[in-house]
């Protein structure tokens, strides 16, 4: 058992499942949006606003935003532990990796809060 404190859940299985479930949510959201914009090509602001004021749409958008954050965190964390290692950066690898992970975490959190603000403000 390899211990780690910076991954999403401490469990490889949980992270792996989160990444797959969030991928399905994101794919569904993307396909829904694509379909909606395809069938309502002459969309107005009112229609767009009405869509996003529906409770089910708010839940769906919020789910997609959380999914994006979790999915991106698992992916970026994996990248950081693959490439920002002692083998590549020597003794400073831990600091570099931690700064990179912190930046990713802050960025994803910002995107989530900002996304909620934009979508729910419509």
């Amino acid at each position: 058992m390899v211990t780690n404190v910076t991954n999403l859940s401490r469990s490889g299985l949980y992270d792996w499942m989160v990444q797959r479930v969030t991928a399905i949510v994101l794919a569904s959201y993307f396909l829904f949006m694509l379909g909606y914009l395809f069938f309502c090509s002459d969309i107005t602001y009112t229609q767009w606003s009405e869509l996003h004021s529906q409770t089910w749409m708010r839940i769906f958008s919020l789910l997609a935003l959380f999914s994006l954050g979790a999915h991106a965190w698992v992916g970026m964390w994996t990248i950081s532990t693959d490439y920002l290692t002692e083998m590549a950066f020597g003794k400073s690898a831990m600091v570099i990796r931690f700064i990179f992970q912190a930046l990713c975490g802050v960025t994803m959190f910002t995107y989530m809060v900002w996304g909620i603000q934009i979508l729910w403000g419509l």
């Binding site: 058992m1 390899v2 211990t3 780690n4 991954n7 401490r10 469990s11 490889g12 299985l13 949980y14 992270d15 792996w16 499942m17 994996t78 532990t81 693959d82 490439y83 290692t85 083998m87």
Partner: protein, 234 residues
Amino acid sequence: MLVSIYRYNPDVDSVPYMQDIQVEIPAGKDLMVLDVLGLVKEQDATLAYRRSCREGVCGSDGLNMNGTNGLACITPLSAVVTNDKLVLRPLPGLPVVRDLVVDMAQFYKQYEKIKPYLQNDTPPPAIERLQSPADREKLDGLYECILCACCSTACPSFWWNPDKFVGPSGLLQAYRFLVDSRDTYTEERLSDLDDPFSVFRCRGIMNCVSVCPKGLNPTRAIGHIRNMLLSSGT
């Protein structure tokens, strides 16, 4: 034929280099790469490489031949040589001891980690623990691994995290003991693997499958381990 070989003797060389040697291949013969190494050694006796059984059983002569890992003793020149040139390097990702000889300590450490032996806490029977033919069949495609390290050293996840990711070879063996009906430590074995590195660093690119000289499928075994973890964890 031109043979280009990775050379490095840490006692003499400050950096590794490639040595080009012309080798006369007997006409009409499709030699194995190990035979070519023998011909090279006749010209330059300082070349170091491992070999033993010369028939793909011991797993000593794992090499990188024209960019692909494999066993030198069972790889014919016709399978690897292009443009009459053969480039031989040590297995990638492991520290080089000398020339084509690598330090396998990290690879064996991962193998030890999965506890590659039967664990059973029930009272032992008088003679032996029996297994049905159906249960025995589950071990086919797993027990044949000869630990040559061709698969693990072809895996980028193992290159990046050789101390944390068990690697395809170790995981194939982990599944061999997980699926063995005579082993009762399945839950303990699974909980040892449920971290973000040991199993889940596998990205399923299947380099291991394409290089395995015994035709085994570590990716499938890793998939089975994931499924076992999933069913015990949900």
